[in-house]
């Protein structure tokens, strides 16, 4: 299988469309007959990351590359950035606004859950500029 790539644009605060990219990637992985448990890990990680952009950033891009062995997702946003990445990786640490909490998120569980559901997670951030999150998941056992 040759590689497939997708790009999505995400707007900060747009909770109505949050999850659209994750939904499309889920459909694609199903069509590629990827195992259900693996699809679930990929889309849970991607959805958490997508919600993070909507919740915290002004805007962002998601670049997805799929080949026969793995999926690689790069989420790059323009936003406030993360002051202390180690702290942000701790369960329960959150800087989410009340409006994000009212959507059922913002409990400080996103990044730890992304780590749990991916094979590789890297977070790079510059305060006042933005954050880049890279997620990789192997598609075959």
């Amino acid at each position: 299988m040759s590689g497939i790539t997708f790009t999505y644009k995400i707007e900060g605060g747009d909770f109505v469309n949050a999850g659209k990219a994750s939904s499309e990637i889920k459909r694609t992985l199903k069509q590629l007959n990827v195992a259900q448990k693996t699809i679930r890990r990929v889309v849970v990680s991607l959805y958490e990351a997508e919600v993070n952009i909507v919740a915290h950033a002004h805007r962002g891009n998601i670049d997805v590359a799929i080949n026969s062995e793995n999926i690689s997702i790069i989420l790059k946003d323009e936003g406030p950035g993360i002051k202390d990445i180690d702290k942000a990786m701790e369960v329960g640490f959150s800087t989410a606004s009340p409006s994000v909490i009212s959507m059922g998120f913002g409990a400080g569980m996103g990044l730890p859950n992304m780590k749990k559901n991916s094979d590789y997670l890297n977070v790079e951030s510059e305060v006042g500029v933005g954050t880049t999150v890279t997620i990789k998941v192997a598609l075959i056992e």
Partner: protein, 117 residues
């Protein structure tokens, strides 16, 4: 495993059918009740039912990502057309009920549906 088809469960909770998914052979055996979608996304195993008081599109998106085929919005919350459309798109059962989360879960419990948390 108990025998609990969608039609029977909807009757038990006096549910209002907003979207009936294609799979009517679905057996509903396990449940998570939460308003915190982050909690739902951390579950190791996918439950059959999500009971929530959160009436927004993200409860359907969360069910879709976590492979939960049946969503109950409790407390008589108003369910927008946007939410119904998203359930249709993802082919997820969407049921509303005037019951409180407590009473809804109590009924599910007495009919043998198990916890997944």
């Amino acid at each position: 495993m108990i025998d609990m088809k969608p039609e029977k469960l909807i009757d038990i909770i006096s549910g209002n059918m907003l979207h009936l998914a294609g799979d009517d052979s679905l057996n509903l055996d396990t449940v998570i009740a939460s308003d915190l979608m982050s909690d739902v996304l951390t579950l190791e195993n996918e439950p059959d039912i999500l009971v929530t008081g959160l009436a927004n599109t993200q409860c359907i998106r969360t069910a879709e990502m976590a492979d939960i085929p049946f969503v109950i919005i409790a407390k008589g919350k108003k369910v927008s057309q946007e939410i119904i459309d998203l359930a249709r798109e993802g082919d997820i059962y969407l049921i509303s009920t005037h019951l409180s989360i407590y009473k809804c879960c109590g009924l599910l419990y007495t009919h043998g549906i198990k916890d997944t948390f």
